[in-house]
Symmetry: C2
Subunit: 354 residues, 2 copies
DNA sequence: CTGAAAGCGCTTACAG
DNA sequence: CTGAAAGCGCTTACAG
């Protein structure tokens, strides 16, 4: 179809060749006005013949709107966010919106820069899992007319919709699950300080422990596998017989640590993780988890966002989703006191790659 | 800093407030010309005071270039592509480029539409793992001046750079590995018909089998977990004692199938997978794999792309990366003839979700 | 139903 | 070192 040419064709060339004005070509291509059928066909024939591709950058400027949404996550490699991005992309694609991927690495500076990009590009909206919930750029983005939905973690600006998970409840239930099986020394492998989901999960854990009259025992793993490994080794060294792990990446590290310590789950240690990664039933033992309904959450977020983009003007919504227990093999053998001999080495010398 | 206002500020307002022309504001903000220091400071002060954010859509149009690259993958949820996207995003970010995420689901129509979007948005470049390698849109994109790098799978247009993996070699070595351990009935869980990586891997497998004088035995799993499960059940039903699985998602299904069939790896069946997913050492048993150096490949692809965007005009490069054996527990117990009693049920009645 | 003209908000030769 | 003016490629009131 297309005549190859170095210089991109403009609407004017198409118009001349078709013997009409640029306005008419635009109307045909966008369906924004009724055009005589014969004219329409002639225009389409020329468009096809020349392989004309309208320059959308120009259109965006003129129309004063960009059919693009930013998706801001802290780590695209975390399956939790991968699933979210995937579900959002699906919905956005169907509605004609493109996805601009913004990976912040939990770095507030990077989040600021990326939000600046979204403002500069005048995107129509954004789904944000914030690293810094009160960054002024979030408000700036909204001031510029973008629709914003907070995902997983709320943002300070009250004009944003929010799709959250009941983090505290999940950690509380996970802890109760272990306590109910007779564990007294239940450790908590915590997430990244200052992140809402980490704080929520830790508080649920602490609530359950104190309700049971037990002493909390937490170590921070930073939401990453290697951190989870080290935190787990520390907690095992302190005699933990049950572990609540605050996310799926750290669960990888926790399982490795259990093995490194020469222990077996659930015989020696019971493990419950929050988040249900795709590989949960493949591990040895299969991992008991509290699963977030990520897809439903992502669909809700995309729905809220696209709803606003299509003109809904309701006041901001806040939807909270419950976790769901997926009982597998890593839990819960009842606790057996002092079944272990020696101390556990509390940090690995092995140079592992996660 | 920013005075909140419904209507976005334009460069003209900033110029008026600073008592200079728009041209000068532009020069200060872009550093494109020397501006008197006092003027510069005045402009920056006003920009800061008003919270001015240049409209990059307008800039893109005027400058005739968009600092954005498209990343076209078939499935962002496949860890293989997730890692690639992540590595590309890192590099692109550092060079000031944004990433537009395009998920094709191995659907040629979706790939065409997304490539059309990339052309219309006049992106500077694209990294493409093509579903349809000879789609005319790839050439159109290049005609429009975009730099294109093919990833994993080549594209027909010879002007694109390519970063590939030695698929055939990997499958051949995996097969030889099993044959070397004494397996005669080595089955192959194949990928999606028509996809280059699937064909390459299957041909490597067939080469190794015929070199060993053995009869090939393949079943197609479509590169997805559930397909891998069904294909594996079929091959086990045909008496396979060794399995080469053509990608990581199908490996999930294969392990599940082995378990469903009441067998154990490596005692009853040896399994080698191509692709090394993050959870390979967590499975029961840990999965022996041939790993692609995804990060190195992604870095190479991003390097080639950004190199061209920065003006390199060398002829198209084609880099092929070798796989690397990661020996773990799922292989290779030597084959023991007819160690199994009855037939294996050849398709599961359990209604699993992958 | 169609065209001429203005304008989206920048950047950049050009002139001084 | 700085400004006035043109122009990037569209879309859309406006007029007919």
């Amino acid at each position: 179809m297309s005549l190859v040419s170095r210089q991109a064709l403009r609407i004017r060339e198409v118009a001349e060749r078709a013997g009409v004005s640029p306005a008419t070509v635009s109307r045909v291509l966008n369906g924004t006005a009724v055009v005589r059928e014969a004219t329409r066909e002639k225009v389409l024939a020329v468009v096809d013949e020349l392989g004309y591709r309208p320059n959308r950058v120009a259109g965006n400027l003129r129309r004063q709107q960009v059919q693009m949404i930013g998706v801001v996550v802290s780590d695209i490699e975390n399956p939790h966010f991968t699933q979210m991005v995937r579900a959002v992309e699906d919905t956005a694609y169907l509605k004609g919106y493109r996805v601009l991927l913004c990976n912040t690495d939990e770095d507030p500076a990077k989040q600021r820069e990326y939000l600046g990009v979204l403002i500069a590009e005048r995107v129509a909206g954004a789904i944000i899992s914030p690293t810094e919930p009160d960054a002024p750029e979030v408000s700036e983005l909204i001031d510029h007319g973008a629709a914003v939905v907070a995902f997983d973690r709320a943002v300070a600006d009250r004009r944003a919709d929010a799709v959250l998970a009941a983090n505290s409840d999940a950690a509380r239930m996970a802890t109760e699950h272990l306590v109910g099986a007779g564990h007294k020394k239940v450790g908590f492998v915590g997430g990244l300080a200052g992140i809402e989901t980490a704080a929520g999960r830790q508080s649920g854990y602490e609530k359950a422990m104190s309700a049971a009259g037990l002493v909390p025992m937490a170590a921070q793993g930073g939401f990453r596998a290697e951190g989870g490994r080290l935190a787990t080794l520390e907690l095992l060294g302190r005699g933990a017989s049950g572990l609540v792990v605050a996310n799926n990446l750290m669960a990888v590290g926790a399982l490795v640590a259990v093995r490194e310590a020469g222990l077996r789950a659930p015989a020696d240690v019971s493990v419950v993780a929050i988040d249900d990664p795709p590989w949960a039933e493949l591990t040895d033992p299969p991992l008991t988890t509290f699963a977030q309904p990520v897809r439903a959450m992502a669909a809700a977020a995309a729905g809220l966002l696209l709803g606003r983009l299509e003109g809904r003007r309701a006041r901001p919504k806040r939807q909270v989703f419950a976790f769901e227990l997926r009982h597998r093999g890593s839990c819960c053998r009842p606790a057996v006191p002092s079944r272990r001999g020696g101390a556990v080495r509390s940090n690995g010398s092995r140079n592992r790659k996660e």
